[in-house]
């Protein structure tokens, strides 16, 4: 007869980390892609177009953080929706920040002309836009909005990159005007955080699936 404390199964132990898996996977994919491109280009700088795709991969992962397969059960939890989400998002953002840190190191090594400060703001802005969109979509009864939001975010970013000449303003960071774009992205980040908070505020007001 065993006298020690019962050991928790492995699935239970890794369960708290599950929401962050897509964040780690997308950041990992971004690092792997950037490494492959950097090595393939043999000393040349990574083009700004490709850099935006790397930014997109890092930024789209956190959109999956609000996926909640058991939403019908968790909605009755005593902790408010915003508090629960704050914990999940906090852990996910730490992971995304670590991934972005590696991307910055790689870019600084081989692509010194890339405006890293502005790109960091762009990444932050896109992350919060994805989170805000996920919060709004899940408020409309979709318990796993990650796939929808991440795909749409990707299409919007690449669409803006390709159709930039059709737009009256420059949206994404370009090599020459990095600092000028920081204000725009800081405003976008603050607006997205406000939308996220508003969409996560009411506890127990989920609509039926």
């Amino acid at each position: 007869m065993s006298t020690g404390a019962p050991t928790r199964p492995l699935t239970d132990r890794i369960a708290p980390l599950r929401p962050a898996v897509p964040v780690a996977a997308s950041a990992g994919a971004a690092i792997a892609l950037l490494t492959a491109i950097t090595l393939a280009r043999r000393g040349d700088e990574v083009p700004i177009f490709t850099t935006h795709l790397i930014v997109l991969l890092v930024a789209a992962g956190p959109a999956y953080l609000l996926d909640d397969r058991a939403a019908d059960v968790t909605v009755v939890a005593p902790r408010s929706l915003l508090r629960r989400r704050a914990v999940i998002v906090g852990k996910g953002l730490l992971l995304a920040a670590a991934g972005w840190g590696v991307v910055v190191l790689l870019l600084r090594w081989r692509s010194p002309s890339v405006p890293l400060g502005a790109l960091t703001w762009e990444t932050l802005g896109l992350i919060w836009m994805g989170l805000a969109a996920s919060a709004v979509v899940s408020r409309h009864g979709i318990s796993e909005p990650g796939n929808q939001v991440a795909s749409t975010l990707g299409l919007v970013v690449v669409g803006v990159l390709i159709g930039q000449h059709l737009l009256p303003v420059t949206v994404l960071v370009i090599t020459s005007d990095g600092p000028g774009r920081i204000g725009w992205w800081a405003t976008a980040t603050c607006s997205a955080i406000a939308i996220f908070v508003l969409a996560s505020r009411q506890r127990g007001h989920r609509h039926g699936r």
Binding site: I37, A60, Y64, N147, S151, G159, I162, G163, L166
Partner: protein
């Protein structure tokens, strides 16, 4: 006596072709009504409208293929992926349907003819408006009809628009069948865009291996186009054969997810792959 015991009327049996056709029609309607497809349609229409207003729909020649290729082909990739994975999301219902997964996949592949039809309309409108307002450049050389051979220009339009509009969604079906995990649509989309971009750095003619190729080159001074031309390294007409084979391979890959007919599909895949290599060699010869 219940109706269940009544004998079936002669000739009422549904053939596999009929069931796939009916499913394909339903999937085509779902594709055409999907918000992302409608968005891509709106963007393409706006872009054409802006071009008409400025009286130059194809002002830089075949380079105008980038926009429809992305907005129909890559958006189509995500739409097809979502339609295919929706079978998993409604697995309880889908599993009770009297049609196997392979036929449903075939129907989804046939539904990808919807974005291809839009691609055909786009190149026809480009041809018409290009004839009404012929593109001009300071150096009197544009990658368009009248400056390049008609076969090459049609090759670029068909390969870079029509086949891109078909191939993107077909790849979406294949990716969704084999890798239906969360994030596979995003990852697939990024790789689909990154591949052709990175291929441009590959020396000629090996960049033609990419599933989408920029055939033209241009001279730009002070941000303004001076001339554009179709590069000689790759024959666009032969490359279309290669791209068509890639589309067929995507269908075979999607169908091979199920165990049925795997042997026949593997043989067909081998033949198509060999044809693709042949077309690629002809295109780069």
């Amino acid at each position: 006596m219940t109706t269940l015991s009544l004998p079936r009327p002669a000739g009422a049996e549904v053939t596999p072709t009929q069931s796939v056709g009916a499913l394909a029609l339903a999937d085509a309607r779902r594709f055409a009504r999907h918000p992302l497809f409608l968005t891509s349609l709106a963007v393409v229409l706006v872009a054409q409208g802006v071009g008409i207003a400025r009286q130059h729909v194809v002002d830089v020649g075949v380079e105008a293929t980038v926009l429809p290729a992305f907005f129909i082909g890559v958006f189509g990739f995500v739409v097809a992926h979502r339609l295919t994975t929706s079978l998993r999301r409604t697995g309880d219902l889908a599993d009770t349907a009297p049609v196997g997964a392979q036929r449903r996949t075939m129907a989804l592949c046939l539904a990808c003819l919807v974005p291809m039809a839009l691609g055909i309309l786009v190149i026809l409108s480009m041809g018409i408006f290009g004839a009404v307002w012929p593109p001009t450049m300071p150096d009197r050389q544009v990658a368009w009809f009248g400056y390049e051979s008609n076969l090459d220009v049609w090759g670029v339009l068909v390969g870079d628009v029509v086949l891109a509009c078909l191939g993107g969604p077909l790849l979406g079906v294949a990716v969704a069948r084999w890798a239906p995990f969360r994030g596979s649509a995003l990852l697939g989309m990024v790789l689909l865009v990154t591949g052709p971009v990175m291929a441009q750095a590959v020396p000629a003619p090996w960049y033609a291996v990419s599933p989408w190729v920029i055939f033209n080159d241009e001279r730009v001074v002070g941000g303004k186009y001076q001339a554009s031309w179709i590069r000689d390294a790759v024959s666009p007409a032969w490359w279309c054969g290669y791209a068509a084979c890639l589309c067929a391979l995507a269908v075979v890959a999607a169908l091979m997810r199920e165990k049925a007919h795997r042997r026949q599909l593997a043989i067909a895949g081998g033949v198509i792959a060999a044809a693709a290599v042949g077309f690629l060699l002809l295109a780069t010869a």
